[in-house]
């Protein structure tokens, strides 16, 4: 389903070369819930950009849902992100002063989904994340947790191959963070594939599998069968 083989990413400035990812290979199967962990500078953001088709690797092959991402043009990448990836960002990244339902409809608008269907689908996903009575509130009228739920609904809108969450609870109060993680678990139970980048062990323990990066390399890739805290 998702396959990374020998992915290397090198950032070059005039004077220095930085190896952000160094020969990273792994696979994620359909229905998995993976947390990618690591300290800052470990390359997890770079990995998230590559997984999200926001950036291309320097070398190696990335296959998503049987499509090779590594050699696509800018517009093809945009199309790929639109159809296959549901983004959930740390800072929510909703359009300001725009209603929740309109935010959820944006990816469908870019995909050319007919307007009537957009509304139906947006309502369905907003209901799913528990925002039935907040659909016509603008993004600045709702709390951080609610904004992130709008973002999850938006991520689901195109029924993507994976949900890619980058520190999804980073900007949210702890009690609301638990709710968000519960939504993730629920979605995973329904069969959605989720990849989540985080540096918080408390959050990572909700995932079924935890990959730990350090200095651009995978140092640990374990099943989290009991979903317990890894360390304290």
């Amino acid at each position: 389903m998702i396959s990374l083989s020998h992915i290397t990413k090198i950032y070059k400035t005039e004077t220095i070369e930085t190896k952000a990812l160094d020969d990273v290979s792994f696979e994620i199967k359909k229905g998995e819930f993976v947390a990618i962990m690591g300290p800052s500078g470990s390359g997890k953001s770079t990995l998230m950009h590559i997984l999200g088709a926001l950036d291309l690797p320097t070398s190696g092959t990335y296959t998503l849902d049987n499509e090779t991402v590594s050699a696509l043009s800018e517009d093809e990448l945009a199309d790929m992100r639109n159809r296959k990836i549901g983004f959930i960002f740390q800072a929510f990244n909703l359009l300001p002063r725009t209603t929740a339902i309109k935010n959820v409809m944006i990816p469908m608008m870019y995909a050319g989904v007919p307007k009537e269907e957009r509304v139906i689908r947006a309502k369905k996903y907003l209901e799913m994340v528990g925002l039935k009575d907040r659909m016509y509130h603008t993004s600045n009228q709702i709390s951080g947790g609610q904004q992130q739920r709008v973002a999850i609904a938006r991520g689901l809108a195109m029924n993507p191959a994976i949900l890619l969450a980058d520190e999804p609870t980073g900007n949210i109060a702890t009690t609301q963070a638990e709710e968000i993680m519960n939504i993730f678990e629920e979605l995973n139970n329904k069969g959605h594939t989720i990849v989540m980048i985080t540096h918080e062990p408390d959050i990572a323990h909700h995932a079924k599998r935890i990959i730990i990066l350090r200095d651009g390399k995978i140092i640990s890739d374990v099943k989290n069968g009991k979903r317990k805290k890894l360390w304290n």
Binding site: L54, A78, N82, F87, P96, P107, Y110, G112
Partner: protein, 407 residues
């Protein structure tokens, strides 16, 4: 995405920051408004001048003596003494000239005129009785110069209203008053109605005397400064011009028309010259206004660039969610074009209103050419594309990662 959706989105974005949108549009409003108003005013004044000239008679030809040729240098027109009363009577009596209705020989010269303690410097015009009809002059009080006045060299004068008020002030009984020109005393027998002219040949600021009196008594000359010829109708002006031309060439025994010692011009010739001048003037005004339009366009570009910087994160997000390059360009370009089109429409309305009010105040005919309206709208749309393109391209070229990270 459909065009209607893109336009709705763009309108939504523009209404978020109303003050900024308003200021950006203001530049275009002023630019388009001034272009429309100034072109319209230029055309109105052109029309007004044309009407004035037309009112002097469209079937009138004026024959005047040419300047003297001195080697290669040709003197100023009107200075010569080659046109005589005999030329005028020959024109009158010639049976070969079939298209001429009436002829008015004239002798005009500026001179000092006194009346009591007042004096003025004005145009003294020696005329015959037909002058009033040909030059479309009417008498308000008293009578005009008659044929008898001319034949007996009467010392009488008809005043233009401007000259009358210069000499006697307002409200004085003018008929029977005396004026003094070159030491000769003349009696006022009439005052003409105002024609509302201006400049050198203002029929209101003139004194009309019998031609013979002007030549023999006042100034002691025997030549004419012009002969006004009225054609039978305005359709035969060219023929009339040719007939008179060849007739006078033969009379003056000149074989080469290039050496003619007189010139003939029609009101149309004057009209064309004036039209050319005012046309240039209108273009000049429009050009100056176009500069303000350009400044307005740069204002739009400035605002759009600020917008792109401000909305970097939004652009990054849109790209992450699948917006293609072309869509981002279209989105920003649409915003810029909407700004300029709105500005163009408001500016056009404003320009028309300003021009309407000013032409009313200045008592000119109000004209607005559809050409300038179409031009204004086209130009404002074009400015949107021209100055919106660079910011739009800049937005579309942002890398999604960089844009998302942007604080």
């Amino acid at each position: 995405m459909e065009l209607r959706e893109i336009v709705t989105e763009a309108l939504g974005t523009l209404t978020i920051n109303k003050l900024r949108t308003g200021l950006a549009v203001l530049g275009i409003i002023i630019g388009i408004g001034s272009v429309i108003a100034l072109i319209s005013l230029g055309q109105s004044s052109q029309k007004s001048i044309e009407n004035q000239i037309q009112s002097l008679g469209s079937n009138i030809l004026t024959v005047s003596p040419a300047g003297q040729n001195t080697g290669a240098v040709r003197g100023a027109g009107g200075g010569g003494t080659t046109l005589t009363p005999e030329d005028a009577s020959a024109l009158k009596s010639a049976t070969t000239l079939t298209t001429i209705a009436r002829i008015s020989p004239e002798y005009a010269r500026r001179s000092q005129v006194t009346a009591g303690r007042n004096n003025t410097n004005t145009q003294i015009i020696g005329v015959e009785s037909q002058y009033a009809d040909i030059r479309k002059l009417t008498v308000a009080t008293g009578a005009f110069i008659t044929d008898r006045d001319v034949s007996v060299l009467s010392k009488v004068a008809v005043l233009g209203p401007q000259a009358a008020s210069d000499l006697f002030g307002d409200g004085t009984e003018l008929l029977g008053q005396s004026i003094r020109i070159n030491g000769q005393i003349l009696t006022v027998i009439g005052v003409t109605s105002s024609k509302g002219g201006s400049g050198f040949n203002n029929p209101d600021d003139a004194i009309y005397v019998p031609l013979s009196t002007a030549q023999k008594i006042l100034f002691g000359v025997n030549n004419l400064t012009s002969i006004a010829v009225e054609a039978k109708d305005s359709g035969v002006m060219t023929e009339t011009q040719n007939e008179i031309g060849y007739f006078l060439l033969a009379r003056h025994k000149i074989s080469d028309p290039a050496n003619a010692d007189f010139t003939i011009f029609s009101q149309n010739d004057i009209l064309n010259t004036v039209s050319q001048v005012t046309g240039t003037f209108t273009t000049l005004l429009g050009g100056i206004a176009a500069i303000s339009l350009l400044v307005g366009g740069i204002g739009i570009m400035n605002i759009m660039l600020v917008t792109v910087t401000e909305r970097t994160r939004e652009i990054g997000l849109r790209k992450a969610l699948g917006a293609k390059k072309r869509l981002i360009i279209t989105q920003f370009l649409t915003e810029a074009i909407l700004l300029t089109i709105i500005g163009g429409i408001v500016g056009m309305a404003l320009g028309i209103i300003i021009s309407y009010i000013l032409t009313r105040v200045m008592n000119m005919p109000f004209t607005i050419s559809p050409f300038s309206v179409i031009l204004a709208l086209g130009v404002s749309g074009g400015i949107g594309i021209l100055f919106g393109w660079y910011p739009a391209k800049k937005a579309a070229d942002l890398l999604p990662i960089e844009a998302l990270r942007y604080e």
